[in-house]
């Protein structure tokens, strides 16, 4: 033991440096490889409470814009509501079991921690109520569009992989033509994402709206993602390169809605069987 201590002292901390540095790099590599739960993350109680405290202060500065966006959203909902012709619905539809089940439930939550300039970005959200049914893999949206996907949940908080996270892919479609592909982020710019897998025969125009396709159980069809900023076709490629400008300003999100899809587990289970068979 005495020899060991002497050795540590003689090499001027070099051995301590080597051991700790290797341990750090082990952590980094392990984290980069797996997307499993990390033992301690920012949804734990301590930093959650601290972040809530700071966010409690800062949110007062944004009250004006928050109430503005809430008012805009209310107006939009009112207009949608008033445009539904109830008589028409009653005349034309045949009732099935599905009509009596509410498939999508929107759970409001408040953002307490957010980043847009990291290599992979996360948000921490705080539940309004401890009993809220927020679960991993559910979609998260705000009034202006898609925000991300829930990664892990604690009693009062949940962490969300932002749309600005390299592992997040969201099924998307061009609104005008219904051609579908997937949205993915390539880093470096917090307002631009890539739309992939749109075949070269699709008809596109700059300014076309991109919405969620409804193919995945995480998001219902028709939630806005962004508009086409630029697109081009590499020679010899069968798919377009499309850059989409997000309608959502991820830097200024205060309130979000988590989407609880009653049928999510069912659809995912069934599709998993398909993958297992291959």
């Amino acid at each position: 033991m005495r020899n060991l201590i002497l050795l540590l002292l003689r090499y001027n901390g070099f051995i301590v440096f080597l051991l700790l540095e290797l341990f750090c790099l082990f952590l980094v590599v392990r984290y980069n490889r797996s997307q499993n739960e990390i033992f301690v993350n920012s949804s734990n109680i301590f930093s959650g409470a601290l972040n809530t405290g700071v966010s409690n202060v800062t949110r007062y500065f944004n009250l004006t814009s928050t109430s503005d966006s809430l008012a805009t959203e209310n107006a939009r909902l009112y207009s949608t509501l008033s445009n539904i012709d109830t008589d028409q619905l009653l005349r034309d539809s045949v009732y099935t079991d599905e009509d009596t089940i509410e498939q999508y439930l929107f759970i409001p939550a408040r953002v307490v921690n957010n980043s847009i300039n990291q290599n992979n970005n996360f948000l921490t959200i705080k539940k309004k109520d401890i009993s809220d049914a927020i679960e991993p893999r559910q979609g998260v949206i705000s009034d202006k569009g898609v925000v991300g996907i829930v990664r892990s949940v604690s009693k009062r908080y949940a962490t969300v992989m932002s749309i600005l996270h390299r592992q997040v892919r969201i099924n998307a479609a061009v609104k005008s033509s219904n051609n579908f592909g997937a949205i993915a982020w390539r880093g470096n710019n917090s307002t631009i994402v890539k739309l992939e897998d749109i075949p070269s025969h699709a008809r596109l125009a700059i300014g076309d709206t991109i919405i969620t396709s409804g193919n995945s159980p995480r998001f219902p069809k028709g939630i806005t993602l962004g508009v086409i900023d630029t697109f081009w076709l590499e020679s010899g490629s069968n798919f377009y390169d499309i850059e989409v400008k997000l309608t959502n300003d991820l830097n200024s999100i205060e309130y979000v809605y988590v989407i609880n899809n009653e049928f999510q587990a069912e659809q995912e289970e069934l599709e998993q069987e398909l993958i297992n068979e291959q």
Binding site: L20, V28, R30, Y31, N41, S190
Partner: protein, 174 residues
């Protein structure tokens, strides 16, 4: 427990919270300034007293980095590895800038004893090393060397500015 030990413990807590709660949230979301990260906590390692044993310096740096990783950045090991690296090269940098008469080992490497020119060059060397190491480990490959350098340079300017302001405002003795 002597005065300077206590002061360093306070500085550890203060810089940890300052980095995690305030500076992590600052970003300038416009064109090239998108690359700016405010990294100010290495100041803790910089200001440890001369007589701190090298192994202890490294261990304290490790703790600072690890806590930031776990509590605020969700990036286990990234900040910690940069801190460990800087704590390790600190004695080498001190040796590089050693004045003619040598250091007074009972003091700390601060502006008050050694002057602003000495402190700036000492802090700049270590901060640049820290930022470069940090951004390299963050992407874990040298493929993005252009981005790494750009981030290092821009973040360096803003973080160094804060460190100098800190030295003028608090002008610590220990």
């Amino acid at each position: 427990m002597s005065n300077d030990v206590l002061k360093n413990i306070w500085r550890f807590v203060f810089l940890f919270l300052l980095q995690g709660l305030i500076f992590k949230r600052i970003f300038l979301d416009s064109s090239i300034f998108y690359y700016v990260n405010f990294i100010i906590y290495p100041l803790f390692i910089l200001l440890l007293p001369f007589r701190t044993p090298p192994s202890l310096t490294i261990f304290l740096g490790f703790l600072m980095g690890l806590f930031l990783d776990l509590f605020f950045y969700d990036s286990p090991g990234v900040h910690a590895s940069a801190c460990v690296f800087v704590a390790f090269i600190r004695p080498l940098v001190l040796g590089m800038y050693e004045p003619k008469g040598g250091y007074n080992v009972t003091q700390s490497p601060v502006k008050k004893h050694l002057g602003i020119v000495w402190f700036s060059s000492y802090a700049a060397t270590l901060l640049a090393a820290h930022l470069f190491f940090y951004f390299t480990v963050e992407v874990f490959t040298f493929v993005y060397i252009k981005e790494i350098l750009l981030k290092t340079i821009l973040s360096f300017i803003f973080s160094m500015l804060f460190i100098l302001v800190y030295m003028y405002v608090f002008d610590p003795e220990h």
